[in-house]
Amino acid sequence: MQIKEQRHGAVTVISPQGPVCTTDAEQFQASALDVLGKTMGRLAVDLSATPYVDSMGLEALVAVTEILAQSGRVLKLCGACETIREILELTGLSDHFDHYADVNSAVRSFL
């Protein structure tokens, strides 16, 4: 799976290009944690190109937001499709993340 990484000012946005499942979830998690270390937590995840996530993908997202929670922050998700929003709601994980409609809104939230 390709994971695009964009800098928006001081904020880094990673955008998985496809579903976050199985081994791709590990790759996504490693990529997100790498960005976290580099940017002091200024990270947003753009899910606009991600049609769905499975349980491994959810675990990866939760692992990243738990790392952020140690410093009082949560992972910012943007552009999540209806399927992913529904999965997060059904699993009760929606509150573990901040949700934004698009990347700009997510980046602006760091101001």
Binding site: Q6, M40, R42, S71, G72, R73, A101, D102, F110
Partner: protein, 614 residues
Amino acid sequence: MVVKRMLQYLLPRGERTLAGLGLCAATVVAAACGALWWLAGYGEVQANLKARQRTVEVLASTLSQSIEVMLGAGELSAVRRLIADVARDGELSICRVTLGDGVLADADPAAITVQSLPPTGNPWPILNDQSNHHPRATRIALEIPGGGSAALYVAGEVEHSGSVQSRVSDGAGLIAACAVGLLGIVYHFGRRKARGASAICGALAAAEGDGASVPREKDLAALEVDDRYGPQAKAWNDLLRELVDLRTRQLAQRAIGAAGVTARRDDQVMTAFDALWHGLVIVDSSLKVQYANGAAAVFLSARRETLAGMDLLSLLSDPDVKAAFRVLGERSTSTRVVVEGSLSPGRDDTVFRLSGRLLRRDEGAGAMILIEDVTQQRVADKSRNAFVAQATHELRTPLTNIRLYVESLIDQPDALPATRSQSLNVINQEVRRLERLVGDMLSVSEIEAGTLKLTTDDVRLNVLFEELEADFHHQAQAKHIGLKFILPPKLPVIVGDRDKIVLALGNLVGNALKYTPANGEVSVSVRADADQVSVDVADNGIGIKDDEAELVFDRFYRSKDRRLEGVTGSGLGLALARQVVRLHGGEITLTSVLNKGSTFTMTLPMRAELPLAA
């Protein structure tokens, strides 16, 4: 009360109750024996009295008949002998015959006062019972045939033998002795059995006190009894010890509870600190770290567990930040410091604002440092400043052109029509350029404020593209660029914000013309299907590097390509275009080959579908 005091003094607790019971029982037994003895004696006396009385009465009756006969026969001497004999044999205390005022016959000859019977034929003296009456004696009136009246007094003393009472006394004594012995045995064995309970009773009494002279015993250990008193005593002692333990635990729990309230409050404060996304560090007067929350540990690139006790200055790498906090530690000039800088070597791209202030003004007071990550704010400030500088330049350039051409027209009122027309044309272009720039700036401010909204209506695409072609025709001609619009025979009417769509398409076409060298080509191709409309804006210009393919959509982003050093621009066009298209539910994508050209593809749905608000 005195006995009680004596018992309390003489007997240990645990013996007093039992000893009191024993004494009471002994007293009851003694009283019962005494009563039995007295009752036995009283009954014997009464029985003797009754029997003697009956004997005396029978004897008197018999004797009276004999005396009447003897006196009628004038045999006074025989009467006197009979009296003496009967008195002696009958153990009579009184046995006499009275005549008139005197005593005619008596067991005691000395008591006789009448020596002889009255002569025959003479009247007998009248009896005077007053002088001869004996209260304890039985009196029988005698009628002497041929004579007068006389009286017989008989009384017999009862001798109390005491034999019954003696026997009863012996029996009662034996019973009493047996009872006391039995009581002693019962007491002996009962004491072994009951002294535990007795001791417990004594302890309970001591615990209760009497409210006045004997105070309550509050020390539970003092209420313990000797374990040798039996299982009850052991159980009592166990209960007391459990009670002591319980009280101790209660006190401990109360103390822990009191401490727990404070601990819970501290926990809540610490939890709140950990929930902060700003770093919080508390240091003592020597700038040693006392507390650091999770965010502070991340910002200081240190493990939280190891932060406590570390020197704050050793955690800081930026000399300016170090100097500021050294001043705070010295408390010489300031009690508050705010400084911006980096925290870790190699992390210069991250800007932190550290605000430190003393917790108190006195010596020895610690300080609190709040660490904020302001990198994004600083980047935004920098971009905004760059935009303002760029916008100033962008505004000044067309304004300068407008002013120059207007001055030229004023100075040359007789200029040729062609020259005037050229000047007005330039002024018109520059005004439109200004208009676009101001429009972009307004849109940027709307995006920044989150208020960029769509005003949807029917958008006739054929009209829209005709106007677009007209708008850029002169610009393309001026640069000798071939601008082609490849439109299908029939374009649909979509629902959207016409002005915003024109803005987005204008930015795409304007950029294509701007970054395409002279004699290049720019084409605008439109495809429409049932769901969406796609617009390709392609050029054969300088192209865009792969690593900048997404960055060009960032606000205020300006390409680092040196070939563009002379090209002015606000860096807002593509960001605005993408934002507008996304608000419609569409997308803009880019495919580019460096030095070959770029193609921006804009897709718009037939009806604008507003995305969820952030």
